[in-house]
Symmetry: C2
């Protein structure tokens, strides 16, 4: 995917997304020794960067496909993003979610006009249920992270960041399914001035770190992280981009994730998900690497259950 | 205090404050039936609007007074604000705080370079301790809310809001000591186009509401609100302004305050204090008054103890 495809993607989705603000904190800079620019996609429509990729994927469908709608399986932000993007564009969205997902998440999808379709909670049931919708409705399946149009869309957050702050030496993103980091790496390649993209990953689900070591897509065992948006693995579309373009992946502990989340809330006065927090944790973990460096951090989302905070 | 005094105040403090962002939420607008513009002074330096008034009060001192420093008694945001403003301007600040104040608050004041002086927790001891500093150090006492320079400074948040959104029909602020609402009322008078300022006050500490009814400054009994920044009463400097310029005061319950705080965190993705939340609660309480109206809300601060959240 070349520079022009990212430019065209950004132009295409601009009517459907916010160019989110970038904020800084003197105190966090003092704490880390780095000069950090936080790109706040927690302020993105529906509260996460996933809106970008969802909008691009739908907009790239031919009209006859759009008429039949789109479907995904996601209990997280991508389900909400696809629902809202589809509603904004005027397309039907079917969102497959396990029946044991929280009411908050179900309500959010329905609030954005998505048609909720419940499955069992295992991956097989989710996938089979989505496949049924593809067959019965003619809807197009959109994968949350392993889709070139989604990857390009997610890259626009980093593109916006570098358009405003082209002096950044590093951009750090969390790594889950790989869409955000792959898109960010493309954006840094095309719009940065010698800007390296680094991934931040929970130690307990370090599949991406191990994948880069082994050269093939690794999976996680059943261990779960508080950064629940990162309980996923890379795919065959984004892994080659990550292999080629990403500088490295820094792994952080659960305690480090929670501590960084607290720092973000207390110092930046913003609500972010645990899944955002590994990026700041990585800077705190490797102070030597980032000392006196200009670092961008993508705050990936702000959809938090306030009744289940880790502090 | 005329229009020019507010313009001069704003010019004077600009090097020491942020012009904070204004954010909106389609969903909150749908929920309330109003069109709300949130002025985010939780993103102000040290995390609250109090920075504005503190900076102005110090900058208005003659040089010989500045040389002896400033003193206040506050266990809340004004103590931190005076410490940081003084540090920024190059003046010594003595902050009297009860010895039983939380470590977080003590650390914050010291972190901003303030000299912490502990007192007993009753008002008499705080005032006597501050008076001792005035006498022994020659420091100037700055009141957190009942001081014309503080009132003017606090008014600059509303001035900034109206400079960007001059079509606002109402601006709502929380009411505690009266500095913010008095300053906002002056700003609305001079910079609004027929813009009314409304106060929002916890029902359990509704001294300002009762003061407007009775025509004299009323006090609260010992009842405490979760909006702990509002556990204060008006003063002889700000009360006449409030009497003359404020439209009305809307009282809200503790449950309404917590519910509004949750809506702000969930929808706006920002961290705000309970003391901010009565303003949105007022819109939800009196939907008829605000129906289809363009309403500004001052988000007054974001310094929250994350270990003591009400949800």
């Amino acid at each position: 995917m070349d520079k022009n495809s990212l430019v065209e993607c950004h132009d295409r989705i601009k009517p459907y997304i916010h160019n989110t603000p970038v904020i800084t904190s003197t105190q966090i800079n003092r704490m880390t020794g780095a000069e950090i620019y936080f790109k706040c996609d927690n302020f993105q429509k529906m509260g996460a960067f996933k809106m970008r990729g969802a909008a691009n994927a739908i907009l790239q469908l031919p009209e006859d496909k759009k008429a039949n709608g789109v479907v995904t399986h996601s209990s997280g932000n991508f389900g909400q993003a696809l629902a809202l993007a589809a509603q904004s564009i005027g397309v039907k969205a079917y969102i497959v979610m396990p029946s044991n997902a929280t009411e908050i998440k179900k309500t959010a999808v329905k609030g954005y006009g998505g048609e909720l379709i419940e499955s069992e909670s295992n991956v097989e049931s989710r996938e089979a249920t989505a496949q049924e919708v593809v067959e019965s409705k003619g809807a197009t399946f959109i994968h949350p992270s392993n889709d070139n149009n989604v990857i390009l869309g997610q890259g626009t957050a980093c593109k916006e960041l570098l358009e405003d702050y082209n002096f950044l030496e590093y951009v750090i993103t969390p790594v889950g399914g790989g869409g955000l980091i792959a898109g960010s790496a493309l954006a840094a390649k095309y719009f940065g001035k010698d800007c390296s993209v680094i991934g931040a990953e929970p130690l307990v689900v370090d599949d991406a770190y191990r994948s880069l070591k082994s050269g093939k897509i690794e999976t996680n065992n059943t261990t779960r992280t508080i950064a629940d948006g990162l309980n996923t693995q890379l795919g065959d579309k984004n892994f080659p981009i990550i292999q080629k373009e990403v500088h490295s992946i820094i792994r952080v502990t659960e305690d480090e994730i929670i501590e960084s989340m607290k720092i973000i809330w207390e110092r930046l006065k913003i609500v972010c998900e645990p899944s955002c927090s590994p990026a700041l944790a990585a800077v705190l973990k490797d102070k030597k690497l980032f000392n006196n460096k200009k670092v961008g951090i993508i705050i990936s989302g702000g959809n938090v259950d306030l009744n289940k905070l880790p502090f």
